[in-house]
Symmetry: C4
């Protein structure tokens, strides 16, 4: 079973989950004081949803780039791998919901619950990503015969800590939800920069 259709389905879910994020901005804008308040005022009031949009879009984008990197090392899929991927995509497609919660409640008493929901979703996403990767890579089960051992080791080393880092950021929300939300954003930004600046070099290795 080759991986072509798997990638089409996964890319579809990534693209839709990312694009649906804009509906959260719509909703948030709509929940801001309506006319006669000015549109400019509503646009300012909805600012957390722009930040949330950027952070979640970039996060999904990074997951997509990483999935791309992983699939480059994979030769074929079996049904277990397909089911693991379905489970992984299930948590990715969940991301728009806690994104909206964070945007709408970061400024009220719901901030802790919202930040926890966001963090748990991303922790599960990172954990499922690891499950997909380890199922494929342990013992070279589904890897291409000509896979790059350095790249495989690099992927393992990069992704293994991600669920723990997200778990730590999630638990931070119990103490200070705003701090945890800033950490989610900073972590996404770190990956963007890391990918952009160091990505070129690493791909030559």
């Amino acid at each position: 079973m080759n991986t072509g259709r798997l990638e089409t389905f996964a890319d579809g879910v990534f693209a839709i989950a990312a694009t649906l994020l804009i509906l959260n901005v719509d909703t948030h804008f709509g929940s801001c004081p309506p006319p006669p308040a000015s549109v400019a005022g509503q646009l300012v009031c909805a600012w957390p949803s722009y930040v949330a949009y950027v952070v979640s879009f970039l996060t999904i984008g990074i997951i997509w780039v990483n999935h791309h990197t992983v699939m480059n090392q994979i030769d074929h899929a079996d049904r277990t791998f397909l089911m693991l991927t379905v489970g992984f995509l299930m948590v990715v497609a969940f991301i728009p919901f806690p994104t909206r919660l964070v945007a709408e409640h970061i400024q009220d008493e719901g901030a802790t619950a919202a930040a926890l929901a966001y963090g748990i979703t991303l922790t599960l996403t990172a954990a499922m990503f690891n499950a997909v990767w380890f199922y494929a890579s342990v013992g070279g089960r589904l890897l291409r015969p000509d896979h790059d051992p350095a790249a495989v080791k690099g992927i393992t080393r990069s992704y293994l800590p991600a669920p723990w880092i997200y778990l730590a950021m999630t638990l931070t929300a119990l103490i200070d939800p705003i701090a945890s939300v800033i950490l989610y954003g900073a972590f996404a930004l770190f990956w963007v920069v890391e990918n952009s600046v160091f990505g070129r070099t690493r791909m030559r290795s």
Copy 2:
């Protein structure tokens, strides 16, 4: 006519139907007692929609995996096959609607109607899947010249009972809607496990 575009279109519908399920969670959360009730309280109140999300996402994922398996044996499409596939995708894309009904009404008197609507949709999905498969496979009409007869027989044996099983679960809703909903979930879980644990072995046959 090769099957490439058919798969792109089908994967698109699968991906969108699955990803739209998150909107149900949004709606359910919104229908829970709003602020000043706490966000945490709303998150707890919306729990049936998380279960419904998981069950329907996995169900659509399993249908996608099975469609994948079927298309692997198929060489080309004719227009009848395309129209049957459109009909099949029409019922798949309907799944988010009864999913929401079940999530929102499983705890009130609407449970029977909701569980029936869900069951009828999945019974029709299974029946349409069989129609697609039998049109393609009877007499080897659209099968690859090098199709695997054991796999073809295996597919027929696996899918033939599915509409009847779903019909039985649907009728259960008339007696006990909660039992039928638990059965829908258990059946999805069974397929996930069956695919994951036995999938590898069978693919070697």
Copy 3:
């Protein structure tokens, strides 16, 4: 410029436009008398939206199958062809809106306006389809060197009357909106049957 990406984009729009139709059913169900009325009652009240869902899903499905047939004869795209396709997809993606209007207003005084909106959209869709096809086929401009002249003539003969038929059905709405809506459904059904029963024969020609 080959046609691969054109088909991916088009299939994406077809798949999303078709799948978004389910949101209309959601909305219609929500506008039916809410609890304490029973869910069963709401499900019955929303019946026009199921019919509208089926008719529009099949209509988009038929357009997709026909687009498939057309693209099989086309060798490459130029930028004019891409822009015409964008215009064509723009009217296809509009279909969910009048679909909802028809479902919600076929039983009240808004029926004429709704049926006109639906008919105008489908008339434009058929006209744009013809524009795409004639741009590609006149003088064999974008056709494959090995295109099938009988198939090309068959496509031209099949599609040329469609805008006029839709226009006639649209004008019927001025006299009797319900008659025009029945005609839209009958025309979709005709194409489904025509494709399914006669499709196989014609593909051999």
Copy 4:
């Protein structure tokens, strides 16, 4: 890393962003005086949302055609290029939100804020498009070995002024929002015509 999956993901985002535009028409129609006002009256009242739908759909369509043209000259992607593309798609997927603002507020005092939001989004889109293109083309970094130098120069010459033109149109909104909205529409139309009429010639060069 080849560009196949990049294009699938990008085409998915383009297709979804364009198709989601129809939800704005739905919303606008719903915000028009409801029954007992006539459906015909609501359809007339929602006219700005049809214009906005057409302008934004064509704009996204043109961006897609241009992305197509760019990718034809590109041989492979690195991770920096993928991240830039994610950023570019992030602003494309944002377009439906300001589109709705313009449609709903062009006739009230919110026109300036709405036209500014629309213009800023398109200015950022054009700027990100340039970032993607210059990253790929400067020094021929990611270009195909057999890229067409005339086409590369033509792309650079065509796209470089776009952010500045959009910025100028955006600033026009401060003086006269309706003028700026007309300019956005005229600019989209210009590209449609330019692509359609001159596209054929240029592709031969």
